[in-house]
């Protein structure tokens, strides 16, 4: 029986990235995937007639350009097209838009507040300063501040150095930024509700915190630190849907000789004599490997797939204390035509924008209060996009695909488990909210796929449907991610590695965890790294 150099569990984008870099370095790698399709949460699914849905992740910015380039993803079919702008509809019939063009954006902010429009300059400089700080560490393994090994000390010194090279007050601002709530942070710059709500969205997407919870300023950064071709903070569409990302990485992997097996659910990671030996599949097959890399989130990896007896109790306790909280839902909608938004100017560019229907921090925070009470938000924060305006490949001509990401949606309801009726009621709340701003929207709906944490967990395997595979709070970032002492992609058993978004630098279609894990594996094997370094200052 064949023994692979490595088996990667889960063909999500991080698993594929990890596998691709290992294969590129010459390893014999197998990726096993429970579903009959690859991609995990970066997929393009054909669920209704000729429509393609990016039915989980739906936009692309975080994918590290270094990885894009090193894996030659363009050659493997990936094309990311930026989209411009963002709009927040106000309850009074007005709207706030932001634009790619700096001057138009300023003018539009100034329409709501001249002061805030000018304050935005300082705000964006300060956020960019934080972005620059974090970006350098995305493709690096977090140091263990408690080990005092030379490599960790070097990495710590690097972080310390980057911090200290800022001017004194900028360091303190950095500490503030990393610990503040996005709401309170924005209030230091802006006076206008709709502007604050417009900017705060990125601080709550994917997280079980409200805009007034400390730590959400960092969550905003997590959504700003990406780029499209050097435009930091810009987002784009993967042509053909987010599955194009996974397909391209898989293409790269296969071009290096890798092998993918779908419909191969792992039931157990086999450990013998303190070392990983391979995996057992649900169908009873066993596959041998010298090392196993899990792209499942840490709770699934250690509390479900691994045998508890192979693990230290203290480690298990720490994994149990890792917080993966379901807070989001998703609607994927096939439309018979383009809905209109009467609040927008005629022929506005903002039709391309991501759209939001909640115009104050208070409404956002109340949406979170609902989540705490284990109900879906009655007045939710929706991040809505119509990718087909930009990408002609995802729906028949004249027809459209609409993606609605919804915050908040709890993993479990006060009434107990989700039922289909609950799910439909949740979907209706979202549709009703959008319809308030688009009178023809409801009539254009041909098909709706509603996904609550229940569906996301069952289909994609994300615990509670959490898009980041673990909250992005300070206690779960950097050297704390996923658990202290195990932030360097190595599991607690020899030969076991982690490469999911539960590891540094966390979730989003970034591919950095997969790449970083590959670097550590190759390092343990004393092989030359195939993983690129950061492009550096920009």
């Amino acid at each position: 029986m064949k023994t692979y150099d490595a088996i990667v569990i889960g063909a999500g984008h991080n698993g594929l990235t990890n596998a691709a870099f290992l294969a590129k370095a010459g390893l014999d790698v197998l990726v096993v995937e429970k579903n009959d399709y690859i991609g995990g949460a970066a997929v393009s699914r054909n669920l209704y007639e000729d429509w393609i849905y990016s039915n989980c992740s739906y936009v692309c910015s975080l994918l590290r350009p270094e990885i894009y380039r090193a894996l030659d993803l363009a050659r493997h079919g990936l094309q990311v097209t930026p989209y411009g702008g963002s709009v927040t509809f106000k309850q009074n019939g007005d709207y706030l838009g932001s634009y790619w063009d700096h001057e138009v954006a300023h003018r539009e902010f100034a329409r709501h507040s001249k002061r805030d429009a000018d304050a935005y300059q300082r705000y964006s400089a300060e956020v960019m300063r934080q972005t620059r700080f974090i970006r350098d560490f995305l493709l690096r393994t977090p140091p263990d501040p408690t080990s005092f090994r030379p490599r960790d000390l070097r990495e710590l010194a690097l972080i310390g150095g980057r911090l200290l090279e800022m001017e004194e007050e900028a360091i303190y601002d950095t500490i503030r930024f990393w610990t503040m709530s996005i709401g309170e942070y924005l209030e230091e710059f802006f006076e206008t509700d709709v502007i604050k709500a417009h900017l705060a969205g990125s601080g709550i997407i994917g997280t079980a915190l409200g805009p007034y919870s400390p730590g959400t300023a960092y969550v905003l950064l997590h959504h700003y630190m990406g780029e499209v071709d050097g435009n930091i903070g810009a987002w784009g569409f993967a042509r053909g849907g987010m599955g194009a990302v996974s397909r391209a990485i898989a293409g790269a992997f296969e071009s290096y000789g890798g092998e993918i097996r779908v419909e191969a659910e792992v039931s157990r990671i086999i450990v013998r004599d303190g070392r990983v030996r391979g995996v057992a599949l649900a169908n009873g097959d066993e596959i041998r490997a010298h090392r196993v890399v899990s792209n499942l989130d840490v709770k699934r990896t250690f509390l479900q797939v691994m045998d508890r007896s192979d693990l230290d109790e203290d480690f298990v306790r720490r994994v149990e204390n890792f917080h993966i909280r379901g807070s989001s839902g998703k609607l994927n909608i096939a439309l018979d035509g383009l809905p209109t938004f009467p609040a927008l100017p005629k022929d506005s560019q903002l039709i391309n924008a991501d759209m939001h229907f909640i115009d104050s921090l208070e409404r956002m925070e109340r949406a979170y209060d609902d989540w705490k009470e284990k109900t879906w938000s009655k007045d939710p924060y929706v991040d809505m996009l119509i990718p087909t305006i930009t990408d002609p490949t995802m729906a028949p001509p004249g027809k459209h695909f609409m993606s609605c990401f919804v915050q908040y949606c709890p993993p479990e309801l006060d009434t107990g488990e989700w039922t289909d009726a609950d799910r439909d009621a949740f979907g209706q709340a979202v549709i009703d909210q959008i319809a308030e701003y688009s009178p023809d929207f409801k009539d254009l709906i041909l098909h709706v796929e509603i996904r609550t944490p229940r569906e996301l967990e069952a289909e994609v395997g994300l615990t509670e449907g959490n898009i980041f595979q673990g909250e992005l709070t300070m206690d779960q970032l950097l050297f704390n991610r996923p658990v202290p002492g195990f932030a360097q992609y190595r599991g607690p058993v020899r030969g076991l590695y982690m490469c999911s978004s539960s590891t540094h630098p966390g979730g989003g279609v970034m591919a950095a965890p997969g790449a970083n894990a590959a670097r550590e594996i190759l390092r343990d094997m004393r092989r030359l790294s195939s993983v690129p370094e950061s492009f550096g200052d920009d």
Binding site: E103, A125, E165, E167
Partner: protein, 395 residues
């Protein structure tokens, strides 16, 4: 749809009907969201209008603020580094304002329109800062960019043009003075200011009279060589005059992301604008400390050998040691000199010292490199006596 929706198109200035008609080249630039002429006919020739006769430049997109209230003066005095108590009504002052760290946020001109009433005019927008600075002062700061139409009239015949237009007594206006005139029922404010280092005026009027003002100016200047000039020509003039520009020769301190990229007034050659004898002003403590400790950078004017403009050049002390870079460069037609503004790390750049500029230039697709010797000069490359003469000569 909201009736007041923001236009997603670039805006037109109050003079657009006229500048569009004059823009033979159809050469436009987006300046702060407004469409303005890059060049009307030929930038090289427009430049000579300023040095030889008079050029008219559309200033509308310059950011303008009105500052009023009982404490407008102490407010401004705390805001900027120079002593504003010396700027009497009817006078204009060039000033810089700094952040807490003593780094320059921007420079601009402050017009003391009437007792307790000021206009501040700058390249960048600062309402948030100005309002933050207003806390604790009895003062009102409002942005009025779009409510004021402005033109620059610059060049040796400019005074004659205004006289011809009927602005009686304009010849008595001293440099950095301002006066109000009646113009077709409107109030026309004229200041003897500009961005060309030459004799020149700036004209400020309500937007309803903008087109008429343009027409009258060109009518009056018909035999005095008046021509519209675009931003390319103006840029050349301001480099010759040694004027720095935000976003080019320094970055507004509140927009700087990387450490060490902001500059203090001392580092921009503007120490003459910093007055420690007056009460507290923003950045004072940091600037006092910088004065004790010494500054890091120095902005220098370079007179460079040869005739190849030193665009984007590295600057060296000796042949090897890179000490800085050029931020603005031009061949000066009027001074017949190869000039540049550069930022160098101290101690390099002492007056009259010698530096080298690494110049890349292209001839018929091929690039060449040269190390050109430069002299650090103290005086502007162009500073004619007519700039200061009062009354100015007619030509």
């Amino acid at each position: 749809m909201s009736d007041t929706a923001t236009s997603e198109r670039v805006l037109e200035t109050h003079f657009h009907s006229r500048t569009a008609e004059a823009n033979y080249r159809n050469s436009w630039q987006d300046w702060k969201g407004y469409t303005t002429a890059g060049e009307y006919t030929a930038a090289d020739l427009e430049y000579f209008a300023v040095r030889n006769a008079a050029g008219v430049f559309d200033l509308c997109p310059m950011t303008k603020y009105r500052i009023t209230g009982a404490e407008a003066l102490p407010y401004l005095d705390r805001l900027v580094t120079r002593d504003m108590t010396k700027v009497k009504p009817g006078r204009v002052a060039y000033a810089v304002w700094c952040n807490d760290a003593g780094k320059v946020i921007d420079d601009g001109t402050i017009f003391h329109l009437r007792e307790g009433e000021y206009r501040l005019c700058s390249q960048e927008r600062h309402l948030a800062w100005f309002l933050d600075a207003a806390v604790g002062f009895d003062v009102t700061v409002t942005e009025e960019t779009d409510e004021v139409a402005a033109l620059a009239l610059q060049g040796p015949t400019s005074c004659a043009v205004l006289k011809e237009m009927g602005l009686t007594g304009i010849e008595n206006l001293k440099p950095f003075g301002l006066d109000h005139f009646r113009f077709e029922g409107a109030e026309l404010m004229v200041s003897r200011t500009g961005f060309t280092g030459d004799l020149g005026y700036e004209l400020w009027i309500d937007p309803g009279h903008a087109e008429l003002l343009w027409d009258r100016l060109f009518l009056a200047g018909k035999y005095l060589g008046v021509q519209p000039i675009g931003s390319h020509a103006l840029d050349l003039c301001r480099i010759e005059a040694g004027f720095i520009q935000a976003g080019v020769d320094f970055l507004p301190a509140d927009e700087v992301v990387r450490p060490g990229r902001a500059r203090s007034p001392f580092e921009l050659g503007l120490e003459w604008l910093v007055d420690f004898r007056k009460p507290n002003f923003n950045g004072r403590r940091a600037l006092a400390a910088e004065l004790r400790r010494g500054s890091t950078w120095r902005l220098v004017k370079l007179d460079i050998e040869g005739n190849k403009p030193a665009h984007h050049s590295y600057v060296y002390a000796g042949r090897r040691k890179q000490v800085g870079f050029v931020t603005s460069a031009a061949w000066s037609p009027v001074a017949k000199a190869n000039v540049a503004l550069a930022t160098v790390q101290r101690p390099a750049g002492e007056p009259n010292s010698r530096l080298f500029a690494e110049i890349y230039y292209q001839r018929e697709m091929h690039w060449s490199r040269m190390m050109a010797a430069c002299q650090v000069v103290e005086k502007p490359f162009w500073d004619p006596p007519r700039r200061r003469a009062t009354p100015p000569a007619n030509y």
